[in-house]
């Protein structure tokens, strides 16, 4: 992955009425936005749904690790990530790695549900361009390959488990 934090660049997302947003875009196109902010605005553009997903993933990578003790120990987080990994595997997401799930679990302590869900969505769909083999014994059978669809309910259930993982302990 490209290192995106080794320079002086910043990425902001602004949300408002379509009139305000289009006005900001017009200011950028005319060059006035750089003047207004007093810094170089390199690019400005409307944010699509897929870009929002990328933004949320970038955000979770930037959510700081915090010491969750005594909320959850490292061992508890690892054990919990393993449980989620098994669930992913059972659902057919065979490419998912424990380290990636653990990262979501660890950063999930401070992230919003939206960010956690986006991180799971990004993780589970990261291999969806390739076909998934259903019948391991029939290697020549082209009909045995199919592209899975991302199960939104499964993403939501994983998200709820992560938030619940911390909330549950806080209630004890």
């Amino acid at each position: 992955m490209t290192n995106i934090q080794d320079n002086n660049k910043q990425l902001f997302v602004l949300e408002g009425s379509s009139e305000d947003i289009e006005e900001i875009l017009a200011l950028f196109e005319s060059g006035e936005l750089s003047e207004l902010l007093g810094v170089d605005v390199l690019d400005a553009g409307l944010v699509s749904e897929s870009q929002m997903s990328e933004i949320n993933r970038i955000q979770i990578q930037n959510v700081p690790f915090v010491d969750t003790n005594p909320t959850r120990t490292t061992e508890e987080q690892e054990a919990f990530a393993n449980v989620l990994l098994k669930k992913c595997r059972r659902e057919g997401y065979s490419w998912v790695e424990l380290s990636k799930i653990l990262e979501i679990v660890q950063r999930g302590y401070q992230a919003t549900e939206e960010i956690i869900a986006s991180a799971f969505r990004e993780l589970l769909s990261s291999n969806m361009t390739g076909a998934v083999k259903l019948g391991a014994d029939d290697e020549d059978d082209e009909d045995k390959f199919e592209e899975p669809e991302l199960d939104t309910e499964f993403v939501n259930s994983l998200t709820r488990e992560v938030t619940g993982f911390y909330e549950q302990k806080l209630k004890l």
Binding site: F12, L14, I24, V39, L42, D43, V47, I58
Partner: protein, 179 residues
């Protein structure tokens, strides 16, 4: 141009903007001939710039596409050292071309500022370039232009950005710093 010959960018633009790209490209080629009588059609780069702009891609994304032949993610844009120069070049080139033809089509003066792309799409629809078979339902979500990303180089805090917009009358904008 027959519909089956539309390039992938044109098809995406047609889906996202609900404009009749075949008619629009034909009309813009007519306008182009008024400026450049020896040419016949829009060039591939003119068509790509138009279509990617109608898809709501930013000038930075389009400039990156011209160089690398793929739509970039934010990570790609952040890592591209010449983004501004690339964008300026594309802008300068297209202001003499597609932007000029569009202004003519929209009955604007050549030296007037080109309207924003969402505004261009609205005006083209008013002029009857809506694709007939396009169901309004398909566009409900895509017309929701309520988020914009700003890629900034320089030192400015989230609070300073918010304060500047607030002072300029943008009081109801939520701002998040991603990186």
């Amino acid at each position: 141009m027959p519909e089956q010959e539309l390039c992938p960018e044109c098809i995406e633009a047609e889906e996202k903007s609900a404009l009749d790209l075949v008619r629009l490209l034909e009309k813009l080629a007519d306008v182009k001939r008024q400026y450049y009588p020896r040419t016949e059609e829009l060039s591939p780069n003119e068509i790509r710039f138009l279509c990617l702009s109608l898809c709501s891609y930013s000038i930075g994304q389009i400039a990156y596409f011209f160089k690398n032949h793929k739509i970039p993610k934010y990570e790609d844009l952040l890592a591209e050292p010449d983004l501004k120069k690339m964008s300026n070049n594309v802008n300068a080139e297209m202001s003499k071309r597609i932007s000029l033809y569009l202004k003519k089509l929209l009955d604007l003066f050549d030296d007037e500022r080109r309207p924003s792309w969402p505004e261009i799409i609205r005006r083209l629809k008013e002029l009857g370039y809506t694709k007939k078979s396009q169901l309004p339902l398909n566009n409900e979500k895509k017309d929701d232009n309520n988020k914009v990303s700003l890629l900034i180089e320089g030192n400015i805090t989230l609070e300073e950005v918010a304060e500047i917009f607030r002072k300029n009358g943008k009081r109801d904008i939520k701002i998040r710093r991603i990186i």
